[in-house]
């Protein structure tokens, strides 16, 4: 049970990564690889601030802001200096690797004795759910601290998801969605496409860095390597989410990305339990995303001749 509980919490924390990837890949169709650097940046900044005795909430917020700045930088490289989108992200990601090492001062910062958002959430457990170590729910034995962390993450992610949904329904947010959908039209309606891309990538990477900050506090360390493969993980979550809820409705897509992230972590946890070599995880994820990307085209090809046949 604690395995599932952990996977669930991990899925919730990484759903912020999925939401960030959703903004860049789905709203702007912008392959933003900055994520691999910004998730580590969020983790590094908040970890080092926690070590220096900052309060967990402010350390996490500064992590978010740092990520947003790196996203804005990618946006500026792309729009103001006309550098290819993928390359802009690669440049910032590469630069961030050095910056992250400088921020942390070493390649790994442990957070075992620090007060973090996770330890604070754990302390909420006994306050609300009683002082027993374990809690019985629907016949399951659950560690009360783990449950408290899960519930807190759920509340936090619900809040962030709702904020994002609300934002995309404001005038600015609607203009941002239209920028991805039809830049020519939104320019003719007086919106600066450049400003929208910079702002959008800032929000996207802010969310991703927030995910990194929470991840570092949850797993108890920040590591300079932790960002590797994260874009594909986020993309896998978004794709699973779309399969779950279908495309179209904005609110459902956001919920779908969160659900996709949780489902993905559960699948990973189960696969590892069954004896999957952890070294193969990224290979299998990349393979999964590859299949998910080409599957719609193949299905359409298979379906088409049949339809013609029925028509004739």
């Amino acid at each position: 049970m604690s395995l599932l509980l952990g996977a669930f919490t991990m899925g919730l924390i990484l759903s912020l990564l999925a939401l960030g990837v959703f903004i860049s890949f789905r709203i702007f169709a912008f392959p933003d690889i900055t994520a691999e650097g910004s998730i580590t940046l969020g983790a590094a900044v908040s970890a080092i601030l926690l070590v220096q005795g900052w309060s967990p909430a402010s350390a996490t917020i500064v992590g978010f802001v740092a990520g947003a700045a790196s996203g804005a930088l990618t946006g500026i490289l792309h729009t103001k200096f006309k550098i290819n989108g993928l390359l802009s992200g690669i440049l910032v990601m590469t630069a961030l690797y050095s910056i992250n090492l400088h921020v942390m001062g070493k390649s790994n910062v442990p957070l075992l004795s620090q007060k973090t958002l996770v330890t604070e959430a754990e302390n909420l457990g006994p306050k609300f759910l009683g002082t027993a170590t374990n809690l019985k729910l629907l016949g399951w034995e659950m560690n009360i601290k783990d449950t408290a962390v899960l519930v807190t993450s759920l509340v936090l992610i619900t809040l962030v998801g709702w904020l994002m949904y609300a934002f995309f329904r404001t005038n600015v947010g609607t203009a941002m969605r239209a920028t991805g959908d039809n830049p020519q039209m939104i320019r003719a309606l007086g919106v600066s496409v450049d400003a929208m891309i910079i702002l959008g990538l800032a929000i996207s990477n802010g969310l991703i860095a927030l995910s990194g900050a929470l991840l570092a506090q949850y797993q108890g360390f920040a590591d300079v390597q932790m960002g590797i493969g994260m874009v594909v993980w986020g993309l896998a979550s978004v794709i699973i989410g779309e399969a779950l809820v279908g495309p179209g409705h904005l609110g459902l897509t956001i919920v779908g990305a969160v659900m996709g992230s949780i489902l993905f972590r559960l699948l990973v946890a189960i696969a590892l339990r069954w004896g999957l070599n952890p070294n193969d995880l990224k290979l299998i994820t990349a393979g999964f995303v590859f299949v998910a990307l080409i599957l719609p085209g193949i299905l359409a090809k298979i379906k088409k001749p049949k339809l013609n046949h029925v028509g004739a």
């Binding site: 329904r169 005038n171 969605r177 239209a178 039809n182 039209m185 939104i186 003719a188 309606l189 007086g190």
Partner: protein, 270 residues
């Protein structure tokens, strides 16, 4: 109202693909004037429109609109004064967003967009009212995504969007060329009606001689990046399709003459 002063634009200068699209265009348009622009393919008529819209910056010359020098304004800055409908029905609307969302975007053309809700109840009523006037049965489908509509419906909505806030200048770039005849007719009628009722200053590029004759109070013919004919008022209203065809033939003859002359010279000297 709109003044173009010796406007020049050359695409791909210094390469084999060099195109001198605008060669010192001078043009003044009065307020409330409805100007039709015709010309052969590649004559520069759409380029002229795009120069005003700010799709590109002109090489030299000045563009003034409503007393402001907009020559160096970017495209989205000019949008506060200019409404546009494009040739491609897919260009003017966001396909994956609803009719209501598209209209809400247009309702803030050129204005600051804050964090207020894009769709408000009061606004929805106004939308329904104004969409009903298009006579396309779209007023009860405001929640549908635009991508599910036909080209004619999308173009009619784009027209509504471009004139939702009264523009100082309306630019119509062959906006019925990609539509079937019936939809084209509908969109043209809507365009003419809104230009008349809102007393707009408008600029319309067209390939249709019939539209060129029936609509507008001034007609400009563009050829090789310059204005070669300019008629207005009574003279414009007397114009018939045959007159326009004559003018096109004249241009073509002149061109053929140029080509055959060049051919003779080539044979003789090379």
């Amino acid at each position: 109202m709109l003044e173009l002063n010796k406007v020049r634009k050359t695409f791909n200068p210094g390469t084999p693909n060099e195109v001198r699209a605008l060669q010192g265009v001078d043009l003044t348009i009065k307020e409330r004037s409805f100007v039709i622009i015709i010309g052969t393919n590649g004559s520069g008529k759409s380029t002229l429109l795009n120069a005003v819209a700010g799709t590109f910056m002109v090489d030299s010359g000045a563009i003034n609109l409503a007393g402001k020098n907009i020559t160096r304004w970017s495209e989205h800055q000019r949008a506060s004064m200019i409404g546009r409908v494009f040739q491609n029905p897919f260009s003017g609307t966001a396909p994956n967003m609803t009719i209501a969302e598209n209209l809400a975007l247009a309702a803030r053309r050129g204005q600051p967009r804050g964090f207020g809700w894009a769709l408000k109840k009061s606004m929805m009523d106004e939308m329904r009212e104004r969409v009903r006037k298009l006579n396309m049965g779209l007023e009860n489908r405001l929640g549908n995504i635009i991508g599910s509509l036909s080209g004619g419906q999308r173009q009619a909505l784009t027209l509504l969007m471009s004139t939702w806030l009264k523009p100082k200048l309306l630019l119509l770039d062959e906006h019925t060329a990609a539509l079937d005849p019936k939809s084209a007719d509908q969109v043209i009628k809507l365009s003419d009606a809104v230009i008349k009722s809102e007393k707009l200053t408008a600029f319309m590029v067209t390939h249709s001689m019939q539209q060129a004759v029936n609509l507008g109070d001034r007609l400009i013919m563009v050829h090789k990046g310059d204005i070669i004919h300019d008629v207005e008022g009574a003279e414009k209203s007397r114009l018939r399709v045959s007159d326009l065809l004559d003018k096109f033939n004249e241009v073509r003859r002149r061109e053929q003459l140029d080509e055959s002359a060049a051919e003779i010279l080539r044979k003789r000297y090379i």
